[in-house]
């Protein structure tokens, strides 16, 4: 094939078929990665107004990219087949074609304009200040965990962010040490937490659900960058208000003996130097996560472990083994001390 006119047709058809099959296979694989159940951190299933807006541009740009991919692949393949060396075939000697140069300068210009217009109109919305009445949240990056403050509600929590559905949330991003990046793929694109700067993003979650939205620090921040995960729970407004009220209260004073001993241990082991437990007057440390309602969270160690008594014990017995570089050191706690602390923490509902 190739030399004769029908040969050229076969080469063109073969190139189109191969390109088509390859593109289809890529599309199938790509479609697989859009399933929010199997891939809970997918960037392709938006669940907030702004994420939805971005998704519109995202889809358009993917289609444009796909078209360019198909076009260039098919041409490369077709020319490789049509013009490969054959006896009796002569290469045609020419140096260029000004008209073609103009045409294929205009093609990328048009593609770029087609991308730029929706991009900039979307940005004009995203970079606006959050709407009036938005819920204020301050997300503070620490090596390697997240602190979430709700200044209007007077509450502080860690690694699990609770939001009401259909109310805009304005997130102020800060860091106490190195650069981190706040990214909840289904709710918003990422913005960095830069020490010494204050960044902002906002979105309105549109779907309340029982499962959390999974998230993770996106900017390389050192040894346990991989272990700086967090979760966002979006619930109906009454449920959110119930949660907020509960979190604002002081800790449930321990009643069982073991848990009482645990509160003592919490002081003697020095936990109070870094951790706050509202209602426990000695525990007012600010370096580590606020533990007042530790037992109402689903995870510990920045979203890396499910909060079971076994995992709490595992964490306490050697934090850097779970989270390399953890600022919480191995306190070499005795088994008895561990029993007490686990019981105490388990009671902090």
């Amino acid at each position: 094939m190739g030399g004769s006119r029908p040969g050229r047709m076969i080469a063109i058809i073969a190139s189109l078929v191969v390109t088509g099959v390859v593109t289809f296979l890529i599309y199938l694989a790509f479609a697989e990665s859009l399933d929010a159940v199997r891939q809970p951190m997918t960037t392709f299933v938006p669940k907030s107004d702004n994420a939805e807006l971005v998704h519109g541009v995202y889809k358009l740009i993917f289609w444009l990219a796909g078209a360019v991919f198909v076009g260039i692949m098919a041409l490369t393949l077709a020319f490789s087949l049509m013009y490969r060396e054959r006896p009796g075939q002569e290469a045609r000697q020419f140096h260029g074609n000004s008209r073609l140069e103009v045409v294929w300068t205009l093609i990328p210009v048009l593609l770029v304009v087609a991308m730029a217009v929706p991009t900039f109109s979307t940005m004009s919305v995203l970079t606006k200040p959050a709407p009036e009445g938005a819920l204020q949240v301050i997300a503070i990056g620490h090596q390697w965990w997240w602190e979430f403050q709700y200044p209007e509600l007077g509450i502080t929590t860690a690694n699990e962010l609770h939001l009401p559905v259909n109310r805009p949330v304005s997130v102020t991003l800060k860091s106490v040490d190195v650069i981190h990046s706040f990214w909840v793929p289904q709710l918003s694109g990422k913005i960095d937490n830069v020490p010494g700067h204050e960044n902002h993003l906002w979105f309105t979650p549109t779907e309340a659900r029982a499962e959390p939205y999974l998230a993770q620090c996106a900017e390389f921040c050192g040894l346990s960058h991989a272990n700086m995960r967090f979760r966002v729970f979006v619930s109906e407004t009454p449920a959110f208000e119930t949660w907020a009220k509960a979190v604002k209260t002081d800790r449930v004073a321990p009643s069982a003996d073991l848990a009482k001993a645990g509160e003592q241990q919490f002081t003697t082991s020095g936990c109070i130097a870094c951790h706050t437990v509202q209602g426990n007057p000695t525990a007012a440390g600010k370096i580590g996560p606020n533990l007042t309602h530790f037992a109402s969270r689903t995870t510990l160690a920045s979203g890396t472990l499910d909060r079971t008594p076994e995992n709490v014990r595992k964490w306490l017995s050697n934090p850097p083994a779970v989270k390399p570089g953890s600022l919480m050191p191995n306190l070499n706690l005795s088994p008895e001390a561990l029993d007490k602390l686990v019981a105490y923490l388990d009671g902090l509902k």
Binding site: F30, T43, F44, L75, G96, V112, G222, S224
Partner: protein, 600 residues
Amino acid sequence: MATAIGVMTHAEEDTGLWSWLTTVDHKRIGAVYTVAGFIFFMIGGLEAVAVRTQLAVPNGTVLDADRYNQFFTMHALTMIFLAIMPMGAGFFNYFIPLQIGARDVAFPRLNALSLWIFLGGGLLLNSSFFLGGAPNGGWFGYAPLSSIEYAKTSGMTFYVVGLLTLGLSTLIASLNFAVTIINMRAPGMSMMRLPVFIWMVLVVAFLLILSLPVLTVGLLQLYFDRVWGTSFFSPATGGDPILWQHIFWIFGHPEVYVLILPSMGIVSEVLPVMSKKPLFGYSAIVFAGAAIGVLGFGVWAHHMFTTGLGPVPQVVFSASTMAIGIPTGIKIFNWLGTMYGGNIRFVTATYFSVAFIALFTIGGISGVMHASPPIDGHHQDSYFVVAHLHYVLFGGAIMGIFAGLFYWFPKMSGRMLDETLGKIGFWIMFVGMNLTFFPMHFLGLAGMPRRIYTYDADLGWDTWNMVATIGSYTIATSVLIFVINVIKTMRKDKDAGDDPWGGATLEWATSSPPPAHDFDVIPEVRDRDPLWYDRDHGIARAAVPEHNHIHMPPPSYFPLIVALGALLIAVGSMTHLSVLGLGAVIAIYGVWGWALEPTD
């Protein structure tokens, strides 16, 4: 025999180790650059394979977090500064004089100096593995993670000093190449008759001359912060970490074009020769290359869309980044135009060149995608970007370098690489590269962040990670096949002849390998494709005059001495003032001897 400063004399040897250490021959220097670059390419590849092995399954246990961070940092530093740039520099050294019809570069001893400083810097950077830990803060070294407070090991100091050393080497080489190209062209070779490869080298040289000083300033500031307690980048004491990002990417983005433009040049040499027709749209390709170089200085902040730049910079840098897609598109269309209507000889170099077009296009497309800041909000720091950059740097730069290796190996060694092994190796590399990097698009879309040493099983990332790891081993196999090919080829007799491909450019008008003086008679250039013009017009190669006195620069010890001094200054800046002082004395002695060395 003249003596310089009483002690040192000219080096005399033509063979043996000492002749290599004192050489100022651009071809020998180019060969050492290429071989050293390839060895570092294999080291960087092993680091990548280790990283991929750790990520093959969720919660991998092959590397711990610290070692993982060292490996991914060193993988990038090695591939960028010690593999792709030096292999490019190898080609620049070897082929600039040959393609422009000169006998050597403008400053042969400076050329040797840049080689030795590069080797010293490469060894220094890699020695960190054995001296308390390699750099672990990423090749971008973001503040304040790179500060002494958050990076307590000496790794990031090695990063600063290593890059300063390598930058010195590169700056010297770039000035040398630019001067050579502008001043030493053969009679008749106007700028618009320069081979496209040379044009791309010229653009690269200016990119480096303009961008490296910026990095140098940034690195010195980081050195001051780390060693002397200043606070350029530390927010706790009034510095700004974002300042570092601007400085780094004003260098870092042009650097991307430093890595890719030489390969664009190589492909622009191989495709016309193998298609047996002139390059389509020579001036369009040249101007597009220059436009990419100029625009490359105006897009750096697209690496920072997520840092809170504000809407105006985002729009400006988004627009400039999208605009760079236009000259890139022009180039791709012109390469296709070169293939169109050809009679394309599909040798291994052609395979790599055609693969370059296809794979680089994929990297180009994804690059334009995240030129849109809202999209970049998802892509930034995710595996989608890892896929993108590897399609540009592996699919583009490395594929182009392999095309160049197969195309020019006969000229450099006098021997043809084995075509069968070459094609087998090509297909394995092509499949391996796509297996490794295409799935990373899916991983990025599924939300996998970069630079994480571990991930959980329930995120749906396991399958594609496993595929990517298998792909990385496939690539390693193909590199091994290439090494076998080279060893096998070097054991056979010289079989290439002067011009095995029917080339159009001047390097094919001399023997393979060329004599020390490159050309018996400096050729006269009458066309953009001089050899084809002479062939078609029946112009014979000029006869060699009977008494052909060619003056070549003599070998010299002094580049080696100055480089040793520079290396000791670098080591001293991390260890003790006395070492630094000794280095300074040696360097000054070397420069003095260099200046007084007789040149005949």
